[in-house]
Subunit: 396 residues, 2 copies
């Protein structure tokens, strides 16, 4: 199928497209209530959007007491691809223009195999989604990678956990392969955009998203916009010192938060506890699986295992301590906890909350919700779709 190539011609059209994306199908009259344009001007812009086929007519709206209005919606054939590359797995999803997930595949994979191998898999996953009839092609794609990105060019820079990716032109390469516009960002930033679009952060303008997965990262949203820092490495909180003279970390320092609590650290601690027979629950799991991961700790904790609960509490305390510092500094309106370890659930959350509320001043914590992410594994792919749609639905 021929893909859409049109872009909004001006700020008004971009505004309308975003309203339709975020609010779904809408009548012309309702749109008029939201944009502060004269009826005539609005009609002209809507007609032009209809000509470009970015939006289509969608029957008549219910009456609001008089003549019924005509409904408008984004072209239902538009498709975005959301790709979330994690350290140990990849998520690929298809969305429509309203960013609803139509299909979603997850596949284990080691990011250290390098961009060529990973993108082969990503492309075949995308092809599978297309083959299942969910899309005939993609109008844009958003890609999340687990490391800092030079955002304008879409190129990873000095990513610690994916050394082979340094300088690889992700944006350009995938744009070529997929035949559509592509934007690339840090996975944590995309998670933040996802929660902002469809999750817990819908109404907040300044907030933090702390993602605890294989590593630990933080998405920063200022005034509704993701803040990426001077070199694209903002939010890299995994290497903040949490324990003076603590454990050695891969980065060369000691006591980094990530060395003391993260999916990887938790798995290692659990193995150690199992081998030392501190927990029969964990020891049994180790025996039957041959190895342990954060998921096992979560399961053990759910079963009431004291050692597992202690590990989680301890990690939550460390994390909470770091977050308390960030809260004092940044004074956010919301803190979202997400990532693979969300399975650890409320034990973790309670430990974090305790630390933050104790250590930060009342003015900053007084009205500060600290909550788990609402979208789970789809936050990243929704954020990815949001990224590319923001790009496409902006004036050319």
């Amino acid at each position: 199928m021929r893909r859409m190539t049109a872009r909004p011609a001006n700020a008004h059209q971009a505004r309308l497209l975003r309203l339709l994306r975020d609010g779904g199908p809408n009548s012309r009259a309702q749109l008029g209530d939201q944009v502060d344009l004269s009826r005539s001007k609005l009609a002209v812009e809507v007609d032009r959007l209809l000509e470009t086929e970015l939006v289509v007519a969608d029957g008549l709206a219910a009456s609001r007491g008089g003549r019924r209005s005509h409904n408008i919606r984004l072209n239902p054939h538009l498709r975005f691809l959301g790709v979330d590359i994690g350290a140990t797995s990849v998520d690929v999803a298809v969305t429509n223009a309203e960013l609803e997930v139509l299909g979603h595949i997850n596949q284990p994979m080691d990011v250290r195999e390098g961009p060529v191998v990973v993108f082969e898999h990503v492309l075949s996953m995308a092809a599978k989604l297309r083959a299942s009839g969910l899309a005939e092609g993609f109008d844009g794609a958003g890609i999340g990678v687990p490391g800092p990105v030079r955002f304008p060019e879409g190129i990873p820079v000095a990513p610690p956990i994916m050394p082979g990716w340094d300088g690889f032109p992700v944006r350009e390469a995938l744009s070529q392969d997929l035949g559509c516009p592509v934007m690339v960002d840090n996975d944590v930033n995309l998670m933040a955009m996802g929660e902002q679009h469809a999750g817990v952060a819908r109404t907040v303008h300044d907030f933090l998203v702390v993602k605890i997965g294989t590593g630990i990262g933080c998405g920063i949203v200022v005034g509704g916009e993701v803040y990426r820092g001077t070199t694209g490495s903002a939010g890299d909180i995994g290497h903040i010192q949490a324990v003076p003279d603590g454990r050695p970390c891969a980065c060369g320092n000691r006591g980094c938060l990530e060395a003391h609590f993260s999916g990887a650290a938790l798995a290692r601690d659990a193995m150690e506890a199992a081998e030392q027979r501190l927990s029969t629950e964990l020891a049994n799991r180790l025996e039957s699986n041959g190895t342990l991961s954060a998921v096992d700790v979560a399961a053990a904790a759910a079963a009431g295992d004291a050692t597992a609960l202690d590990l989680i509490r301890e990690g939550g305390n460390r994390t909470g301590q770091v977050i308390a510092g960030l809260v004092s500094f940044f004074n956010p309106g919301l803190v979202v906890i997400g990532g693979g370890v969300t399975g650890l659930g409320h034990t973790l959350l309670a430990a974090i909350r305790t630390q933050v509320y104790r250590q930060s001043l009342p003015l900053a914590t007084g009205n500060l919700p600290i909550v788990l992410g609402e979208l789970g594994p789809t936050a990243g792919v929704i954020g990815a779709a949001r990224l590319i749609s923001d790009h496409l639905f902006s004036p050319a």
Copy 2:
């Protein structure tokens, strides 16, 4: 004298006013090079500004190879008042519209005496400046206070070191007394704006300013704009935990940065060292003055006193540790160190740099200058003038 009451009528005029503020007198032709407007449009807007008397003609410019252009400048009679209220002293300055300091008074004072007493002094200082012929009246005033501020209303909220100020309508009261528009902000934010306007941060868009005075605070600039946080308390880094189970702090916690290093903590440490006879230099100063302050420590350090140097180094290490965390999180393009203790100079700076460069990752520190502020005690008042001029030179 009749004060200016005019405001720019549109965004173009605001743009022109800011160009004239930041670039000084300019020819019409030069302005045209900077604003991307047709010559006719530019002429119209400049003529309107001349009518309002916000700008005035200023002779002929040098020829650029053809007909000489007419010079334009901001009305030289415009005067802004910059007020920087610290914990133990107040700075008041008069500037012209280009934000050049024409007169500057500093006076010791205890902020805990409350807003009424403090503002009596401020008003009399302003009157003194006016009486000396520097101003016939003020077209606007910026006020900095040492605590969080609800910015839109200009009201301090829950300020720890100035309890009597909570909820006092600073903006409204001073606007009444001075008879001109007033804006209020945290003193650290104003320091950041000052360094941005006329100091070391002129070309940087994302940076931090750490002010070490009686307490410790941090100004955050994102995309060229001061970030104030959800409740106006962003940058309150004095109560980040720097030492686990460290010294008790006035806030009720233990180990806060401010409890271990700040003007107040430094003075206390110095007294202790003097009483224990660890340093004859400090002991002598204590004997002759009856008390010690950060200034004495600076002097002792300059004289080579080992104890004083140790105190500074230790404090710098603690501060550097906290800043390292902020650098990882925020990835700024510049870190400015300022405030009363700037006198401690390069010993302090070196200690901070060492910690930051050691603890943060290379991607964040690779091209990160950490420098002392350039403006010293005038940073605050220049920032205050900048605050009110930004407000006045924006479309009504």
